[in-house]
Amino acid sequence: MAKTKMTAKVVSQEMIGPEIYSMWIQADEIACQARAGQFVSVYTRDASKLLPRPISICEIDRKNRRLRLVYRVAGAGTEEFSGYKAGESVEVLGPLGNGFPEVGPEKSALLIGGGIGIPPMLELARELKCKKTAVLGYRDSRLFLKNEFEPYADAVVATEDGSAGTKGNVLDAIREEGLKADVIMACGPTPMLRALKAYAAERQIECWLSLEERMACGIGACLACVCKSRETDEHSHVHNKRICKDGPVFEAGEVEL
C-alpha cells in the first residue's frame, strides 16, 4: 500500500469552534494506513484552485476506515470544504508525511497543541500508550476538542484572554501546573514551536515538532515546503528538509525555526 489519491465520501460535518470544522470522511485506502501526525491533501471542486489544501489527521477510525479532519476556514478553499454535507464526495490524497514517533510505555509525554495545531494531537493522544498530558492553547474559552482528549490524557488549558485555564500560552500553563515529562510533542504556530524548542533544549528533553508551510505537490517533488535543517537533507544535500515528505514532524534540534 502507498499514498493514493481517491474520492472519499463525507460522513459528517459540523462546526465545533470559531471557524473550526470537523469533517469525518470515508477514505478506506488512506485510513487503513494512516498514523498520528500524518496529513492529507484535500482538493477543491473549484477548478480555478489547482493546489490541494494540506490538512492534519485529527482521528483515525481504522475499523470503519474513516478519517476525521478538523480544520479552520482560512480562505475560499476551506470555506468550500466547510459546506460539504454528508454523502457528498471529496478528493483526497494521502496519507502524507512521516507522523509522530512512538514513545516507550515507561516514559511520560506532553502533547502540546496551539490553535489549529490541536487536532493532530488528539489522534496522538489516542495512540500513545505512555503516561501523557495534553496542553492545549486557545484564544478564548471556546475550547474545541478539549473534552475529547480527556479519555486519553489529562488536559490542561491556556487561553490568550484568560477566560479558561491559565492566562497566556501553553508554556505559561506548563509552568503554572509544574508539568514535567520525558518527551514533548507539539503542533501549532511557529512562535509556540520556537519557544518549546528552546524550553526543551534548556532542560534536555526530547522534543518533536510538527511544522507547516505552503505546499504544492505534497509528496516531496516540488521543493516548495522546505524548512532549514541542521543536517543536510536527503534530497538536495543542502540544509532544506521537505516538510511534506521528510516531516511534517521533526526532532526539534533538527530544524531552525
Binding site: A2, K5, L50, P52, L223, C227, K245
Partner: protein
C-alpha cells in the same frame, strides 16, 4: 494501429508526453502514482554544477487558475544527480532529458560535460528561470546571449540540446531564431511568466522572493500562441508546455506546432495526470482516425 511515436533531434519517444522540469523531481515521487514506463520522457528538475539551496519560503502561492513559484532551482548538484537520479531513471523504459541550470556559461558547460558519458538522451538548457538573480533568465532575454550560450553548450554537449525559452520577452521568435542560429537541436517553451501576488491582509508579498513564475491553465493561451509563432519561425522541433491539464490541451499544443508536450503544474492537481494524458491522446487519435500522431504537428496554420 495508431502510431504515437515522435522524434526530437533523432531521439524517438514512444509518445509525446513528458514532464515539465521542476514539477516532477527526477520521477521518484510521482513514480508512486504513475508508471514512468508509459511516459515519452521524464524531464528532470534543473541540475547545476554544485548544490543550490534555493530561495526562502514561502516559495509558492496559488492564483486564479494557476500558481506562482519561486523555488529558486534548489538542486543537489551534478555529483549526487549522476549517482542517484540517472540510475533511478535508467530502470525505466522512458527517455531521460536532463534540465541544466547555471549562473555562468562555465556552470552550464561543466554540467553538460559531466553528462557526456551518462545514459542521458537529451539535454534541456534552462536559460529562462525567472527566480534566480544570476544566470537563468539573464541568458534568455537577449538574443545575442541566447545564441552565445547555445553555441557554447553545443560545443561541449554529447547529447542533442534543447534550449528552454522564456515568455518574458517582447518577441519570442527572436529568441527562438537566436537559439536555432546557435545550433540548438530543439526548443522548449514556455517557461513561467513572471508574476506577483500580494497578501492584502498581511500587506506583504505572498512569496518571499516577491516575484515568481506563473504557471497553470491560466497561462495556456499565451503558451499556445508562442508555440504557434515559434513554429512558423524556426525549423527545429518544439516541445510545447504551459498550462496543459489534459489530453485536449496537449493536442492543442501539437496542432499549434509542438512535436511533444510537457506537463507540469497539472501534476500537483492530479498526480496521475501524465498517464491520463497519454491515454487521452490515443483516444483522440482513434476518434478522428489519425494513424500517425505526427499528422497533428503544426496542422493548424
Amino acid at each position: 494501429m495508431t502510431d504515437t511515436r515522435v522524434t526530437i533531434a533523432g531521439v524517438e519517444l514512444k509518445n509525446p508526453v513528458m514532464t515539465a522540469s521542476g514539477t516532477f523531481g527526477s520521477g521518484a515521487e510521482y513514480g508512486e502514482f504513475v508508471d514512468l514506463n508509459r511516459l515519452g520522457a521524464v524531464v528532470t528538475k534543473g541540475v547545476a554544477n554544485v548544490p543550490w539551496p534555493g530561495n526562502p519560503t514561502p516559495r509558492i502561492a496559488e492564483t486564479y487558475g494557476g500558481m506562482l513559484n519561486a523555488i529558486g532551482l534548489q538542486n543537489p548538484g551534478i555529483d549526487v544527480f549522476v549517482k542517484r537520479d540517472i540510475p533511478f531513471l535508467k530502470q525505466y523504459d522512458t527517455k531521460i532529458i536532463v534540465n541544466v541550470c547555471g549562473r555562468t556559461a562555465e556552470d552550464y558547460v561543466e554540467v553538460v560535460e559531466r553528462l557526456a558519458d551518462e545514459p542521458v538522451d537529451l539535454l534541456e538548457i534552462n536559460i529562462s528561470c525567472p527566480n534566480v538573480k544570476e544566470g537563468g533568465i539573464a541568458f534568455g532575454q537577449d538574443p545575442k546571449a541566447v545564441e552565445a550560450i547555445t553555441r557554447e553548450v553545443k560545443r561541449h554537449a554529447a547529447q542533442p540540446v534543447i534550449m528552454k525559452l522564456s515568455p518574458n520577452v517582447t518577441d519570442i521568435t527572436v529568441m527562438a531564431k537566436a537559439a536555432e542560429a546557435g545550433g540548438a537541436d530543439a526548443l522548449s517553451l514556455i517557461n513561467t511568466l513572471t508574476g506577483m501576488k500580494i497578501d492584502i491582509h498581511k500587506r506583504t508579498f505572498a512569496l518571499a522572493n516577491k516575484t515568481g513564475g506563473m504557471s497553470g491553465p491560466a497561462v495556456k493561451p499565451v503558451a499556445v500562441r508562442m508555440v504557434y509563432q515559434t513554429a512558423q519561425a524556426v525549423k527545429i522541433p518544439i516541445i510545447g508546455m504551459g498550462g496543459i491539464m489534459n489530453a485536449d490541451d496537449a493536442v492543442e499544443f501539437m496542432l499549434a506546432g509542438a512535436t511533444a508536450v510537457s506537463v507540469g503544474t497539472a501534476n500537483f492537481h492530479d498526480p496521475y495526470v501524465t498517464e491520463k494524458i497519454v491515454d487521452g491522446i490515443r483516444a483522440y487519435l482513434e476518434r478522428y482516425q489519425v494513424e500517425d500522431i505526427r499528422e497533428l504537428i503544426g496542422a493548424v496554420r
